[in-house]
């Protein structure tokens, strides 16, 4: 096992120098060095992102798309430049296909309400997978309540692998939408997105990928994938919380009705009738997270300079190392050992509840997520109410994993 790990490490880039870019990682908690292993919930921020948000408020803050004055022009320009930056980050065909939202959750809700609400009807089928986060389940259930669609669930196996053949069997001429995670937040499984999209398109279904994890763990090319909608959050990509992205193919977005009404999404308003703006403004009602766009822009610059492939390779190296180290603990059961997975490890320890583990690890300075990870159907699938989850960011290293393994020993000390 260890040989397999060391065999993979030689290709790993030197990531150590980036750790110092994240000021919070120098913190101590309970007088112990912070070991942050919860990046799948939200990633920490490099200094350049913090500086960018601060720069906006100190030097360029004003509302966008409104003022004729200098400040507003600067902020508007920065906001729109971020849109272009996101376009390039996802390799979208046009910046008009990039809609800013609060986060991946709002992006999915937007698609369900606007695209789903306007094009789907009673009896139409959509397919989700058993891996989904609540954010890619509940919006579709709300739509089901509204218009009576059918929701089908693509199964996974006991290792957490997405079962492509079983998914294919669920596809039918009634399938209008496939909404699947591009990386399970709870298990780390990365479903075969390209094959899913190809199969779904062959039956005429539109595909949304929930990229909350997927956009962080590897490079995304929406044109190569030919995906119809792609959702992700800024805060998991080392940017600020409160800003996220929905990518949608222009032809689909142009045909969709607004999601919310308000300022900035109109062309002309009278009390009798409102003409809506073109995309992307049509889907951006109200004042957005302006400073968040500055931060997201800095975050994309930051990860792009390192390289998403380099970040992904580091993630895989940590995953292999952690998988081997955790396997040394006899009473530990990993949940989710899919062949294709990101740096996320869910596990349970015999006889010790995840919350008790989380509390003890916390006192050792280690931040992990415990609980159901907003994926209760997935927890039910494995017969657990929750797990302990360690997840990696680009700043993590093997010492963090060693600290986790040592602290799990402290759990055994308390619980025997």
């Amino acid at each position: 096992m260890m040989n397999a790990v060391s065999a993979r490490t030689h290709a790993a880039p030197d990531m150590a120098r980036y750790r110092a870019d994240f000021p919070i990682l120098a913190s101590r908690v309970y007088d112990k060095p912070l070991v942050f292993l919860d990046s799948a919930a939200s990633a920490q921020k490099p200094q350049c992102v913090i500086d960018a948000v601060r720069f906006c408020y100190e030097h360029e803050y004003a509302n966008i798309h409104r003022g004729v004055y200098w400040l507003s022009q600067q902020a508007t320009q920065a906001y729109e430049e971020t849109r272009v930056k996101v376009q390039r980050f996802l390799n979208a065909a046009s910046a008009d296909e990039i809609i800013f939202t609060k986060g991946a959750t709002e992006s999915i809700n937007l698609v369900a309400a606007s695209y789903g609400g306007s094009t789907l009807g009673a009896g139409d089928e959509i397919i989700l997978s058993h891996l989904e986060h609540h954010a890619n389940i509940v919006p579709w259930q709300l739509l089901r309540q509204r218009i009576g669609i059918e929701i089908k669930v693509a199964p996974i196996d006991d290792q957490g692998n997405f079962l492509l053949e079983e998914f294919e069997k669920l596809l039918s001429p009634r399938t209008r939408m496939v909404a699947i995670t591009h990386g399970s937040n709870a298990l780390g499984t990365i479903p075969p997105a390209a094959e899913i999209i190809r199969l779904a398109h062959a039956t005429g279904a539109v595909v949304l990928l929930d990229g909350a994890q997927g956009a962080v763990h590897g490079a995304v090319d929406v044109q190569a994938l030919d995906v119809d909608f792609y959702a992700f959050s800024g805060h998991k990509l080392y940017g600020p919380s409160g800003i996220g992205v929905l990518y949608g193919k222009a032809a689909l977005l142009e045909a969709m009705p607004p999601y919310q009404g308000g300022g900035d999404m109109i062309r002309h308003v009278t009390f009798e009738k409102t003409e809506f703006a073109e995309i992307p403004s049509r889907f951006e009602a109200g004042t957005p997270h302006i400073a968040g766009a500055y931060g997201l822009s800095a975050a994309i610059d930051y990860v792009s300079a390192i390289g998403m492939e380099t970040i992904a390779a580091h993630d895989q190296e940590l995953l292999a190392y952690a998988t081997a180290r955790l396997a040394e603990i006899n009473s530990l059961r990993l949940i989710g050992t899919a062949e294709e997975k990101a740096g996320i490890l869910s596990f349970e320890l015999d006889g010790v509840h995840a919350h008790d583990i989380g509390t003890i690890l916390d006192r050792e300075g280690i931040a992990v997520r415990v609980g159901h990870h907003c994926a209760q159907p997935l927890m039910d699938r494995f017969g657990v109410t929750g797990t302990v989850r360690a997840s990696f960011g680009l700043y993590n290293n093997k010492a963090d994993i060693d600290a986790l393994v040592t602290a799990l020993g402290a759990v055994r000390e308390v619980f025997g």
């Binding site: 995840a354 919350h355 509390t359 619980f415």
Partner: protein
């Protein structure tokens, strides 16, 4: 480790591993379900009341050491107590979980309540107070005949 040792005392670990009064009593006059949506933990508290006095009590559920131990210890002291008395114990227990001075053990004259002070370490862990109080809120709901699920949120 000291705050942790305070939290995970042997008595608590013991109740967590082998909870007392676990299961549904033969006769039940009121019951209620509790749920913590943060962790998915559940508890059901069963009571047999006669003339306003708890004659029998039991609970079922799954949860962390703190929530199971708290439920177990709660069931141990309810038998023979009246509804008003239980409410008073509940309020004192709640204070014990949340208020700084409540840990002053000399203030407790009640032998039953003194047993519960072993749980006072939870105060140092604000995120875990809901674990310790879930069964208690559920028990209160059962007493009130409130059959709606109790949640911590």
């Amino acid at each position: 480790m000291s705050a942790l040792r305070e939290l995970y005392q042997e008595v608590i670990l013991d109740h967590g591993r082998t909870p007392r009064n676990f299961g549904k009593p033969e006769q039940v006059t009121c019951e209620s379900n509790g749920y913590n949506p943060l962790c998915g933990d559940t508890v059901t508290v069963y009571l047999k009341l006669k003339d306003g006095i708890v004659e029998d009590v039991g609970f079922e559920g799954r949860g962390c050491a703190i929530s199971i131990a708290s439920a177990s210890m709660m069931t141990e002291i309810l038998r023979g107590k009246g509804v008003a008395e239980i409410r008073a114990v509940f309020e004192r227990f709640h204070d014990l979980m949340t208020e700084e001075n409540a840990a002053d053990e000399d203030a407790f004259d009640d032998e039953d309540f003194e047993k519960l002070t072993v749980l006072s370490g939870v105060r140092e862990f604000p995120m875990r107070v809901k674990c310790a109080t879930l069964a208690w809120h559920t028990m209160q709901a059962a007493l009130k005949g409130d059959y709606q699920e109790v949640t911590t949120e």
